[in-house]
C-alpha cells in the first residue's frame, strides 16, 4: 500500500467499484428484474383472468335464465315450421281431407325430398316512373315511398312437392284449399287449377320441414287403419285440428 500513490488507490477503488457493480447488476439485479417483469405480467394476466372468471361466474344465474328464454323462443319459432314428413306420412294428412270432401283422386305425384332454401313466389309490382310524373308528384307534394326489398333466406330446409289431381265440385275444391291453409304450417299451395268444364282440380303443395330441437312425434296424421286387414278399414276422417 505504501508503494501506491493516492491517485493509484483512487483508480484501484474506482475499478473495484465498477467491476463489482457490473457483476452485481449482471448476475443479481438484471436476472431478478427480468423475473420480476415476467411475474408482473403473469400476475396481471391472472388477475384479468380471475376478474373475468368472477364476472362469468356471477352471471351464471342470468345465463341460465337467458338460455331458457332463448330455448323457448327458438322452440316456438321452429314449431311453426313443419316436421320432416315422409311422403307416406304426408298422404295421411292429405287423403283424409280429400275423402272428407268427396274428391276422387285421379293422379298423385310425390317428389323426392330435397334440401332447398325457402323460395318467395311473389312479384312486387311497381308503378311506372317517368320524369314528368316525378315533376307532377313533386308539385303536388306527393311522396312516393320506394319499394322495400323483398326478404331473402339462405336457411336450408327439407323440401318436397306433392301434387294431387282429383275430381270434385268447385265448392269442395275451395274447401280443400282452405283445409290446407288452415293447417297453418309450412305447407303452401304453390300451384292450383280448377277446370269448371270437367270438374277436375289439381293442387300442388310445397312442403318445407325441419328437425326440431326436441324431437317430437308426428301428431295429427291418420293412423287408425294402419296395418289392418283391408276388410277392417273404416276409412279416414279429417285429422284432429285440421278442421
Amino acid at each position: 500500500m505504501s508503494s501506491l500513490s493516492k491517485r493509484e488507490v483512487f483508480l484501484l477503488f474506482l475499478m473495484a467499484v465498477i467491476v463489482t457493480s457490473s457483476l452485481f447488476v449482471a448476475f443479481l439485479i438484471n436476472p431478478i428484474n427480468e423475473e420480476l417483469n415476467v411475474n408482473r405480467e403473469r400476475l396481471n394476466q391472472l388477475e384479468f383472468q380471475k376478474q373475468q372468471t368472477e364476472v362469468n361466474l356471477s352471471v351464471i344465474p342470468a345465463l341460465r335464465t337467458r338460455k331458457a328464454t332463448r330455448l323457448t323462443e327458438t322452440e316456438t319459432a321452429i314449431q311453426a315450421i313443419a316436421d320432416p314428413l315422409h311422403a307416406s306420412e304426408f298422404e295421411r294428412w292429405m287423403l283424409p281431407v280429400l275423402t272428407e270432401y268427396n274428391a276422387r283422386v285421379t293422379n298423385v305425384d310425390l317428389s323426392d325430398t330435397t334440401i332447398a332454401t325457402p323460395e318467395l313466389l311473389f312479384t312486387q309490382v311497381s308503378s311506372e316512373v317517368y320524369r314528368l310524373l316525378e315533376l307532377i308528384q313533386d308539385y303536388n307534394d306527393i311522396n312516393v315511398e320506394p319499394l322495400q326489398p323483398l326478404p331473402e333466406s339462405t336457411t336450408q330446409m327439407l323440401f318436397a312437392q306433392y301434387s294431387y289431381q282429383f275430381v270434385s265440385s268447385f265448392e269442395n275444391f275451395i274447401k280443400i284449399v282452405d283445409e290446407v291453409k288452415e293447417w297453418n304450417t309450412t305447407y303452401f299451395i304453390s300451384n292450383a287449377n280448377y277446370d269448371f268444364a270437367t270438374g277436375e282440380g289439381t293442387i300442388t303443395i310445397s312442403v318445407y320441414g325441419v328437425q326440431k330441437i326436441t324431437p317430437s312425434e308426428v301428431l295429427g296424421i291418420y293412423l287408425e287403419d294402419f296395418g289392418k286387414h283391408p276388410d277392417e278399414i273404416k276409412g279416414p276422417s279429417v285429422p284432429a285440428g285440421t278442421k
Binding site: 452485481f24 400476475l43 361466474l57 332463448r70 321452429i78 325457402p118 304453390s190 287449377n193 269448371f196 318445407y208
Partner: protein, 187 residues
C-alpha cells in the same frame, strides 16, 4: 566544530502523518465500497422480496383458477354462453325463413270468393289457375264490355296488387280472355 543534535522525531512524525493519511484514505474507500455494497444488497433484497410476494400472489390466483369448483362453474358458464349463441343462430335462421313464408301470397277461399262475387253476370269462368303469386282466370263474356267490366270491378277492390289482361278474342259467340291477377303478399 559545532555539535549538531540529530532530531529524528520530526522526521518520524512527518512519516507517520503521511502514513496515517494514506491509511485514512484507504479506510474511506473501503467504507465507501462496503456502503455501496450494502445499498446494492438492500436493493437486491427489496427486489427479491417483491418477487417472492409476486410469486405468492400468482400461486394464490392459480390455485383459485385451477380449483375444481371454479373450473366446473367456469365450464358451466362457457357451456351456457355457447348454447345461447347456438340457439340464437338457430333462431336467426328460422326467422329468416319465416320472413319469406309470411310474405308468400296464399291462395284461399277468400280470393276465390272475391273473384266469384265480383264476376259480372255476363262473364263465365272456365278455368282458374294459381301459380305462385298469381291467379290466371280463363273467362268468357257474352258482351264486348264484359271483360273490361270484370277487370274494373276487381281493380276497384284494391285487394289485389295488379289485374292484367292483354285483350280478348271473339269465338263461338263469346269473348274469351285470360286475366292475370297478382296477389298481394302477406295475405
Amino acid at each position: 566544530m559545532k555539535k549538531q543534535d540529530m532530531n529524528l522525531l520530526e522526521s518520524y512524525q512527518k512519516i507517520n502523518k503521511v502514513r496515517a493519511n494514506k491509511d485514512a484514505t484507504g479506510r474511506i474507500y473501503i467504507m465507501l465500497f462496503i456502503g455501496a455494497l450494502l445499498i446494492a444488497g438492500a436493493y437486491w433484497f427489496t427486489l427479491f422480496f417483491e418477487n417472492t410476494a409476486l410469486k405468492q400472489n400468482i400461486k394464490t390466483i392459480e390455485d383459485y383458477l385451477n380449483s375444481p369448483q371454479i373450473a366446473e362453474r367456469s365450464n358451466e358458464a362457457n357451456k351456457l354462453n355457447d348454447d345461447i349463441k347456438k340457439l340464437e343462430d338457430i333462431l336467426s335462421e328460422v326467422r329468416s325463413a319465416q320472413n319469406v313464408f309470411e310474405l308468400q301470397p296464399k291462395f284461399t277461399s277468400i280470393t276465390m270468393n272475391i273473384l266469384l262475387a265480383e264476376r259480372p253476370g255476363t262473364v263465365r269462368i272456365n278455368e282458374i289457375t294459381y301459380v305462385g303469386d298469381s291467379v290466371v282466370l280463363d273467362i268468357s263474356g257474352t258482351r264486348v264490355y264484359s271483360i273490361s267490366d270484370y277487370v274494373l270491378r276487381l281493380r276497384r277492390l284494391d285487394y289485389f296488387q295488379e289485374v292484367r289482361y292483354s285483350g280478348y278474342e271473339f269465338s263461338n259467340g263469346l269473348y274469351n280472355s285470360n286475366l292475370v291477377i297478382i296477389l298481394k303478399g302477406g295475405q
